[in-house]
C-alpha cells in the first residue's frame, strides 16, 4: 500500500487512481484544516506544502506525491504566523485562512522579511472573499512579532 508522510507522520493510504491529495488528507486522514473551495486549482484554499513548496492539493493527485513531505495547516499550528494572523485580524469567515497561512509560511521560510510587492506576488493565488488582504499583508510583515 502506498504511504504518505504528513506533518512528520507516515500514513498508508488506499486510494483509487485519480484521487486528489486534498481528498486523501480530508477524507482518509481526517485532516480537515485543508479546505476545498473550488476543487479546480483557482482559489488556494487547499494549499499545502510539498517539501516546503506550496501546492494546490485539490489538483494534486495523491499518487504523485511520492516521498515528498506533506505539510498541512495541522503541521503549522504553532507557527508564529498563526499568532500574527489572529493579532492583526487577518481572518473573517476563516475558510481561506488555513491556505493563506500555509502559503505565507512557505513565503517567510524563503524570505523572512518580505517586501509589500513580494507579499502581493506570492500571496496572489490565495483568494479571500471577505477581503482580509490588508490584514494578511500586515500579519506577514509583522510575523516575527
Amino acid at each position: 500500500m502506498p504511504s504518505l508522510r504528513v506533518n512528520g507522520h507516515d500514513h498508508t493510504f488506499d486510494a483509487p487512481v485519480g484521487q486528489t491529495l486534498a481528498e486523501t488528507l480530508r477524507d482518509d486522514l481526517g485532516l480537515t484544516g485543508t479546505k476545498i473551495a473550488c476543487g479546480e486549482g483557482h482559489c488556494g484554499a487547499c494549499t499545502v506544502q510539498l517539501d516546503g513548496i506550496p501546492v494546490l492539493s485539490c489538483i494534486t493527485l495523491v499518487h504523485t506525491v511520492g516521498e515528498r513531505e506533506v505539510t498541512t495547516i495541522e503541521g503549522l499550528k504553532d507557527h508564529p504566523l498563526v499568532d500574527a494572523f489572529v493579532r492583526t485580524d487577518a481572518l473573517q469567515c476563516g475558510f481561506c485562512t488555513p491556505g493563506q497561512i500555509v502559503s505565507a509560511a512557505a513565503l517567510v521560510a524563503s524570505s523572512p522579511s518580505p517586501s509589500s510587492d513580494e507579499i502581493k506576488h506570492r500571496m496572489a493565488g490565495n483568494l479571500c472573499r471577505c477581503g482580509t488582504y490588508p490584514r494578511i499583508e500586515e500579519a506577514i510583515s509583522s510575523w516575527q512579532g
Binding site: 480537515t32 479546480e40 495547516i73 498563526v82 485580524d89 481572518l91 469567515c93 488555513p98 493565488g125 483568494l127
Partner: protein
C-alpha cells in the same frame, strides 16, 4: 414584561408593519468612547480555531454512515423534461437512492433557468453520486427563454408590480432648475462566491431532523424547513457553528436542503449535499444587473430641485425587487423626487440579497450624476453634498435616531483638499484625480432577539444564543458586550452560538442587523445576571444593593469594599446564575439609517485605459463601535468587495441561450491581494442613544455602497471622462475618454478640475 406593539420592521430596505413582541429596555446607555472592554481592539475569540484549521465548518462534518449526493441540473435556461429514466442510475455502484422530478420541493419537470434541478442521487461517495447522475437518461424539450429585461417588463413578465414613488412636483422641480443632468448607467450581474459553497448535512433522528448547514439565518431556515417538510418547528434542529461567508446568498432555504433531507429519509442515513463551485456560480444567488436612467436638477447654487430615476432590474426567475431607488429617495434633501423600479422576471438564475442590495447599484448612478451636476454648475462636489444635507427623513419628515454624516463630511475635507496635489502629479500618460461618494443604508436591526448569560461558580460567563457568525466577528462582539456589562475581563467570557436546540431565538445575519439586534439583547442578559449577583452579594456582605457594582472581576462597594466575583458565584456550588435578555423596541417615530462618505484617489493611463486605485478613504457613521479592530476589517472587506464589483467581477451570460459563461474562479474574477490599494478607515463612533442600550448600528453593508461611484468620480476628476457601466473595463475607460474628447472638440464643458 413583554408587550405587543405595532411596529415597522425593516429587513434590507423592505419595511412592513407587524405586531412585534418586545420587552422593555431599561438600561442606560454607556457613555461614549471606550469602556473597559467595549471600544477597544480585541482579536477574535475564534481566531485560533480558524487559523489552525480546527474550526469545524459544514463540509468538515462527517457522520457515521453518511452518504454524499449530487444533482442533475438543467443545462438549458428554459426546458421541460420530455422523458427521464432513472433505472440505470439507481443500479449504479454505491447508489442508495434516486429522486426524480416532482418528488421534492424545487425539483421539477419544468426548469426556468440554467441549473434548475430535476433529480438527485445519494451514493456512498461523491464520485459515485456524480457518476450515477451521468447515467440518468433524459430527453429535454427546449423552450424559448426570455432573457431581455426591457422586453420582459414590456410583456409584463415581472416579479412584483413595478414600484413608483413621487414626492413634491417633479416636473416643476425640473422647470426650476438651472442645470439638469440626465444619464444612463448600467451595472452587471455579480456572484457572491463565498469561499464555502452552499452545503448541508441532513440526518434524521427518529422523526426529528438535524441539519448542519452554512446559513445566515438559523431560525428562518428552521421555520422554512419545518413548513416545507410539514413538521413541528421543534422537530427541526439547525446547526451552524462556523460558516465560510455568505454576503446575503445564504439568507434563505434552497432545494438542495430539501433534497438532502428527503434522500436522508429514504436511505435512513445522513446525507451531505454540497454545491460545487460551478454550481455555486450558477444557482448560488447573485446581485442582479440593472439599467438605470437617473436625473438630477439644481439651481445655480447647487440646491437640488429634482431627482428622478427609472430602474430596470434583471431579477431572474425568482427573487424580489431590491430598493435600487432608495439612494435617490433618501440620501439628499430634495423636495421633488420621482422614481419607478421594474423587476424583470427572466429565465436566468434567481437573484439573492447581496450586501446592501439595491443601494450598491442605485448609489453608483446617483453619486455619479451628482458629480456631473456639480461640474456643470461649477460647484464643489463636497459643498453640493453639504448644501443638500437631509436633516430629517426625506420620505416623511421623521427625525433620525442619529445622523453624523456632516461630521463624516468634515472629516473628508482634508482628504478632498489633497486633490490639487494629486492632480498636479499627473503627467502625459497617467492622469490623477480624486472623487467622492456619499452613502446611506439601513442597519438598525430590531426585535425580537434574545440571549442568555450563564454565570458559573468559577466566576466565568457564557453567552448563549442561537445566532450565527458569518465571519463578521459578531461572536467576539457579543463576548465584549457581556464582559463590559459584567465587569469581567474578556478572557472570562465564552460564547455559545450556532445551534437552534441550544439557545434562544436570534435574528438573521443580514441587513447589517446582527450587532444592533443581538448586542442589546446580550447586554440586557448580562445586566440581568449582574443584578442577581448584586442581590446575592448584598445579602452575603450585608450591604445595600445600590452600593454594589461589578468591576474588573470584582464586586465593589461604594464604601471601598471589594470582593472577587468568585466569592459569590462559589456559593452556587455547581449551579449557575442565568440572566435573560431581549432586544427592546426601535425608537417610535424615528428613522434609523447608517451613513458615510468615501473618497478615491486614482491614476488613469489615458493611452491604455488602465486604472490604478491608489487610495480609498472610508469614513462611516454606524453608531457606537464595539470592536474597532473588527470594524476596520469590515470596512476594508466591504471596500475590497466593491473594488471587485467596480473593476473585475462580471457574471457573463450567453445572450442567446441565457446560460452562464463564467462558472469558475478564473473566469469570475475576484479581487486578489495584489489588487488592494491603501485603505484608510475612519469611524465617527458616536452612540445612537435613541436606538438601543448599546447605540450601535450595523457595519456589514455600508462600506460596499459608495466605492464604485467614488472611483468613477475620481476618474472623471482625473480625465474628464464619464464612465457609466460597471465593471469599469479598459474598453469602458477608452470609450468614455473618446466621448469626453469629442465633447471638448465641440467646445462643450467637461468636468475635469472644476473645483
Amino acid at each position: 414584561m413583554a408587550r405587543l406593539i405595532r411596529s415597522e420592521k425593516e429587513v434590507e430596505g423592505r419595511y412592513e408593519e407587524v405586531w412585534t413582541l418586545v420587552e422593555e429596555d431599561a438600561l442606560d446607555q454607556w457613555s461614549a468612547g471606550p469602556g473597559a472592554v467595549v471600544g477597544r481592539d480585541a482579536p477574535r475569540l475564534d481566531g485560533y480555531e480558524k487559523a489552525r484549521g480546527e474550526a469545524r465548518y459544514t463540509g468538515d462534518i462527517k457522520l457515521s454512515g453518511m452518504l454524499e449526493s449530487a444533482l442533475l441540473r438543467s443545462p438549458y435556461a428554459r426546458a421541460r423534461v420530455a422523458k427521464i429514466d432513472l433505472a440505470a442510475a439507481a443500479a449504479a455502484p454505491g447508489v442508495f437512492a434516486v429522486i426524480g422530478p416532482g418528488e421534492v420541493w424545487g425539483v421539477d419537470e419544468e426548469v426556468h433557468f440554467e441549473g434548475g434541478a430535476v433529480a438527485g442521487i445519494a451514493a456512498e461517495t461523491l464520485a459515485q453520486a456524480r457518476a450515477a447522475v451521468e447515467l440518468i437518461e433524459i430527453e429535454w424539450e427546449e423552450l424559448e427563454p426570455l432573457l431581455d429585461a426591457d422586453e420582459a417588463v414590456k410583456r409584463g413578465s415581472t416579479i412584483q408590480d413595478s414600484r413608483s414613488y413621487e414626492r413634491g412636483d417633479y416636473e416643476q422641480g425640473l422647470a426650476q432648475a438651472e442645470a439638469v443632468v440626465e444619464a444612463e448607467y448600467t451595472t452587471q450581474t455579480l456572484n457572491h462566491n463565498p469561499l464555502e459553497t452552499h452545503q448541508c448535512v441532513c440526518e434524521w433522528r427518529g422523526d426529528s431532523l438535524d441539519v448542519y448547514v452554512s446559513t445566515q439565518y438559523i431560525w428562518g431556515l428552521r421555520r422554512d424547513l419545518a413548513e416545507k417538510l410539514d413538521l413541528p418547528q421543534d422537530k427541526v434542529r439547525v446547526i451552524c457553528e462556523f460558516m465560510g461567508g455568505g454576503f446575503g446568498a445564504k439568507n434563505g432555504i434552497g432545494n438542495y436542503l430539501l433534497l438532502a433531507a428527503e434522500l436522508a429519509k429514504r436511505t435512513r442515513r445522513p446525507v451531505r449535499c454540497a454545491l460545487s463551485r460551478r454550481e455555486e456560480n450558477v444557482v448560488g444567488g447573485n446581485r442582479n444587473a440593472t439599467r438605470q436612467r437617473v436625473t438630477a436638477a439644481a439651481r445655480a447654487d447647487g440646491t437640488l430641485t429634482a431627482l428622478g430615476g427609472e430602474y430596470t432590474c434583471a431579477l431572474g426567475w425568482e427573487g424580489w425587487l431590491p430598493p435600487t431607488a432608495g439612494p435617490v429617495q433618501l440620501l439628499y434633501a430634495c423636495e421633488n423626487v420621482k422614481t419607478v423600479e421594474h423587476g424583470a422576471k427572466l429565465n436566468i438564475p434567481p437573484m439573492a440579497a447581496f450586501r446592501a442590495p439595491g443601494f450598491v447599484e442605485g448609489t453608483w448612478s446617483l453619486e455619479c450624476v451628482l458629480d456631473k451636476l456639480a461640474a456643470q454648475l461649477g460647484v464643489d462636489p463636497l459643498e453640493l453634498r453639504k448644501l443638500n444635507y437631509a436633516h430629517a427623513d426625506t420620505m416623511d419628515g421623521r427625525p433620525f435616531s442619529s445622523k453624523n454624516l456632516m461630521e463624516c463630511y468634515r472629516r473628508a475635507e482634508p482628504h478632498w483638499e489633497r486633490r490639487h496635489e494629486v492632480r498636479a502629479r499627473s503627467d502625459e500618460i497617467w492622469k490623477r484625480g480624486i472623487g467622492m461618494a456619499s452613502q446611506s443604508w439601513y442597519g438598525g436591526g430590531g426585535p425580537p432577539s434574545y440571549a442568555w448569560v450563564r454565570l458559573g461558580s468559577d466566576g466565568r460567563a457564557n453567552v448563549v444564543t442561537a445566532m450565527q457568525d458569518i465571519g463578521t466577528g459578531t461572536r467576539t462582539a457579543m463576548a465584549m458586550i457581556a464582559a463590559e456589562e459584567l465587569g469581567l475581563p474578556l478572557d472570562r467570557v465564552e460564547v455559545q452560538i450556532g445551534d437552534s436546540a441550544r439557545g434562544p431565538f436570534a435574528s438573521i445575519s443580514g441587513g447589517s442587523s446582527t450587532l444592533p439586534s443581538m448586542g442589546p439583547a446580550v447586554r440586557s442578559a448580562a445586566a440581568d445576571a449582574a443584578r442577581q449577583v448584586v442581590e446575592l452579594a448584598a445579602q452575603r456582605f450585608e450591604r445595600e444593593e445600590g452600593t454594589l457594582a461589578l468591576q474588573g472581576g470584582n464586586i465593589v462597594c461604594s464604601d471601598g469594599g471589594s470582593w472577587p466575583l468568585e466569592e459569590i458565584t462559589a456559593l452556587l456550588d455547581d449551579g449557575q446564575i442565568l440572566g435573560k435578555g431581549a432586544r427592546g423596541p426601535n425608537p417610535a417615530g424615528m428613522r434609523v439609517l447608517t451613513f458615510g462618505i468615501q473618497l478615491a484617489e486614482v491614476a488613469v493611463d489615458v493611452g491604455t485605459g488602465e486604472v490604478r486605485v491608489e487610495k480609498i478613504v472610508a469614513i462611516h457613521d454606524v453608531g457606537r463601535v464595539i470592536n474597532p479592530l473588527g470594524a476596520r476589517s469590515q470596512i476594508e472587506g466591504g471596500v475590497i468587495q466593491a473594488l471587485g464589483h467596480t473593476f473585475s467581477e462580471h457574471r457573463l451570460d450567453d445572450p442567446r441561450t441565457g446560460t452562464v459563461l463564467t462558472k469558475t474562479l478564473d473566469a469570475y474574477k475576484l479581487p486578489t491581494i495584489a489588487d488592494v490599494p491603501e485603505i484608510v478607515c475612519d469611524l465617527v463612533d458616536e452612540p445612537d442613544t435613541h436606538l438601543t442600550n448599546l447605540g450601535s448600528k450595523g457595519l456589514g453593508e455600508p462600506p460596499i455602497v459608495p466605492t464604485a461611484a467614488a472611483i468613477a468620480n475620481a476618474i472623471r476628476d482625473a480625465t474628464g471622462a464619464d464612465v457609466t457601466s460597471l465593471p469599469i473595463t479598459r474598453e469602458e475607460i477608452l470609450r468614455a475618454l473618446r466621448e469626453a474628447d469629442a465633447k471638448t472638440k465641440r467646445k462643450e464643458p467637461v468636468a475635469a478640475g472644476t473645483s
